[in-house]
Symmetry: C2
Subunit: 542 residues, 2 copies
Amino acid sequence: MCSLIVYYPMSDPPQAPRSILSKKTSLDLDAVFQYTSSNKDYTTREVVTRHEYFDERTTPTMADNNFKRLFHPRSVTVIGVSHDLSKGATAFLHALIKMGFSGPIYPVHPHLSEIMGLKTYTRVIDIPHPVDYAIIGVPASSVPEVIKDCADKGVRFAQIFTSGFHEVGTRQGAELQRKIVDVARGKVRILGPNCMGVYYPKARFGFDADHPVQAGNVSFISQSGGLAINFIERGASECIWINKLVSIGNACDLKVTDFLADFSTDPETRVVGIYLEGLRMGEERRLFNLIKQMAPIKPLVMWKAGHTEAGARAAMSHTGSMVGSFEMWKFIIRQTGGILVNNMDEMVDVISMYLRAPLPEGKSVGIVAFGGGTSVTTADACTSLGLLVPPLKEDVQDSILKYVPEEGTFQSNPVDLTGWILSPRISRDVNLLVGNDSRIDALIYIFDIDFIVKRCQLLGLNTERLIKGHTKSMLDVKKGFRKPFLVILQKTKDDLEVERVRLQIRTELNRIGVPNFPNIERAAKALSKLDEYSRYLSRVKS
Amino acid sequence: MCSLIVYYPMSDPPQAPRSILSKKTSLDLDAVFQYTSSNKDYTTREVVTRHEYFDERTTPTMADNNFKRLFHPRSVTVIGVSHDLSKGATAFLHALIKMGFSGPIYPVHPHLSEIMGLKTYTRVIDIPHPVDYAIIGVPASSVPEVIKDCADKGVRFAQIFTSGFHEVGTRQGAELQRKIVDVARGKVRILGPNCMGVYYPKARFGFDADHPVQAGNVSFISQSGGLAINFIERGASECIWINKLVSIGNACDLKVTDFLADFSTDPETRVVGIYLEGLRMGEERRLFNLIKQMAPIKPLVMWKAGHTEAGARAAMSHTGSMVGSFEMWKFIIRQTGGILVNNMDEMVDVISMYLRAPLPEGKSVGIVAFGGGTSVTTADACTSLGLLVPPLKEDVQDSILKYVPEEGTFQSNPVDLTGWILSPRISRDVNLLVGNDSRIDALIYIFDIDFIVKRCQLLGLNTERLIKGHTKSMLDVKKGFRKPFLVILQKTKDDLEVERVRLQIRTELNRIGVPNFPNIERAAKALSKLDEYSRYLSRVKS
């Protein structure tokens, strides 16, 4: 009954699947899946034990899932609310009101008549108007009854915030989850349980009162509610705005591939991110086909978690997920043009760079830095992360020497601007020279904020004016060639004034669309990953 | 003439030295050095070409270098000053005055009679008092003449800030550097050229007016002035205070091993950090012997830069260094008990943890986290970086369930505190339970600052009081067992209020000696490196 998902400790991976994988040059999912499904040796006892509780009788996926009323419901009911913001689904109700959701909201409470100025109803079936979407925050044992009410009422989508189902690892929890699916089947589609639900700022529909109402072109699927929130907030800090986001939790009905299918054809989505712990059984093939279809049009950036034994154990307790072999994942994602990332930094960085810069056409970077040690160690970091740092062309080096004197600096690549970095004009001109060198595919500029702030204080310069000059110069550089231009906003001091200046520059760079990073490692990783995607596109298009 | 230093592009390492290295189980430096020095194939043309300019006739190292008057001179002259803080050595003069250097300071200027309220002299030889230390910031071509004056005057140490010597890669630059050594020989010892010099806060002696005057027990040697400043400022942000620091630049006379010898026997130095690009010829054996002698008493943390082809090229332009084979470095540093790091984050993190926590006695970590996704991904990150995340003992898990309910959380390891993290008491008690589990060697606690700030705002709690409660709890946890206790101060939002709270907690944790990190990767790396050092100590002591 293990079907297609294989689990084993990463410390002791079996040899056979690897040999299948390494021998193949093109993707043959059948061979991979058949091998893993037929070979029981790779199933650990823990998974077999838990597996018997796992619900397999899921609602078949509709070919034409229509999520219009999930992301943009005409009306919403919230069940399990009180006056205490920290309990049940109350924070959801608060979020809808504060975000300015435009449709009617119907709170449900057994005896209160009003909450947050809204009339409440005793049960869902008592609401005298049509309801598209239900948010459920009642105790786990009461959820089946509420779902039955939703089905009777004709609610289209029910999102279950409550936890205490399959993920707790008990027979009781698994049975309760199965019961929900049974009660809902064919009438109401379920999101969760154990999830935060939907964030769709265009409709001012979300789950956190503080989340932005500004909409964008990134869509995100998360198996973790916390990391969904994390992505929204990190995104907002980077001026990366979201089109559609779903937190799917245990995914007892609606699952990763249902949403990926929707996002892949959505003209308002330019890039899709996924935080994934494990798939539902039988979902792999659909996932990989979707990524493959999608990759030539828009990238999928995937953070596949639970790829170590301890992570897998935690994933099982978190969303009841069996995580699968990471070796297999890596192989298949690469073959289908997906981009694998290892943490939230990489997720945000790759998306930011994809949205704001052309794809690189190679791995050779030019570096304009501040300081000798920083130049040496930046070159080390780039090379260690798979990039190339070739010497610049002789005539470019000669031209650079017209701006910065030979003594105390260098110009071969990296170029050390030393104190000349203070001048927006010289910085711009040197960056343009390096960026236009035909030997390089991308330009990285290390902008040292501590130095700028310190010099302004020491020499009595106007910080605001200088920063304005620099961000203007960076925009000129971005426009000066069709290659990625990445800025490292380097900060050493834990100082509120330096942080204020950093945030000011960062906000402006995000506004004008210059990808920026706090350190060289993050920029180099994002560039490497997009270079890999770029080469995939060249292969499939040629 | 290549002697002991071998240079080759990392992309194409020779096989022979590797085979020597991998076959040896104990350290045989003779075999390694003899092999590399006799085998001319490993010398690239570039190095040979540059090598002919390289000064070999350096002053022989004194067996008993006495650096008392270098770190704590009784009087200082500053040559090459004006009223312009951004020119020559003027900023050094400003720094001495502002830091409150207690001895007399004699500025030298050809015609001004007073600078910054101090009487100036036309030449060093005109100063009518004894001078221990000279800071030189005149143009490169004038340096030999000034050094001659220093020698005639009886100045003990001359530090040359000026660049434009061996590092520019021209015959002229190399000859100028050789000339300095010739002129100074036997009379005045030289620090640099192309360096920032000495920082010794006990004597209020340093090179930057803003650097702290608080002294500590970390000593640092840096071949980069910029990274020396970076270390001082990063250290200050972490409440890591410095005993002695030198920036040695091109190291034409005084070199890495001279200072390491001093620091290794200095009772006021508990740990030594080095940022190194390359050694002087013949210095390797002494370095490795020093590390080996020192390792059982105090650790050496080394950042060896220029380990890629591009980094090596930059190092040559920066300090005229030939960087050597990184494979050989890694092997030898490990054999001698040194700790190799790859960037400034790792340098600061390892030192912070060494100073503030007992050494780990194994690789098994307990994790107390906030949120399901964070728990899964933290376990992944720890395991990927070589740590173990074993399930906690059954009775510990049962005890945890007395604090946090089973639904929506988990307790096997990681432990997900969920919203209970808000309570300082519950956080403390759960951390103590996990920390005292005999299966784990270190405890990592993920403290989510965004959540705390947000809850305080939402529920109208007193942020200051809550933070105080939490830092008090963390101190209780630290005292609750003899194992490393590491706190991750997790922050998602780019928000000044969240940053303010983070800095407040961080300052308090640094004050009470709880190692803290901005993300799990940095904590896991520091722990791994100190575990390796701990195992080295067990081996050599048994």
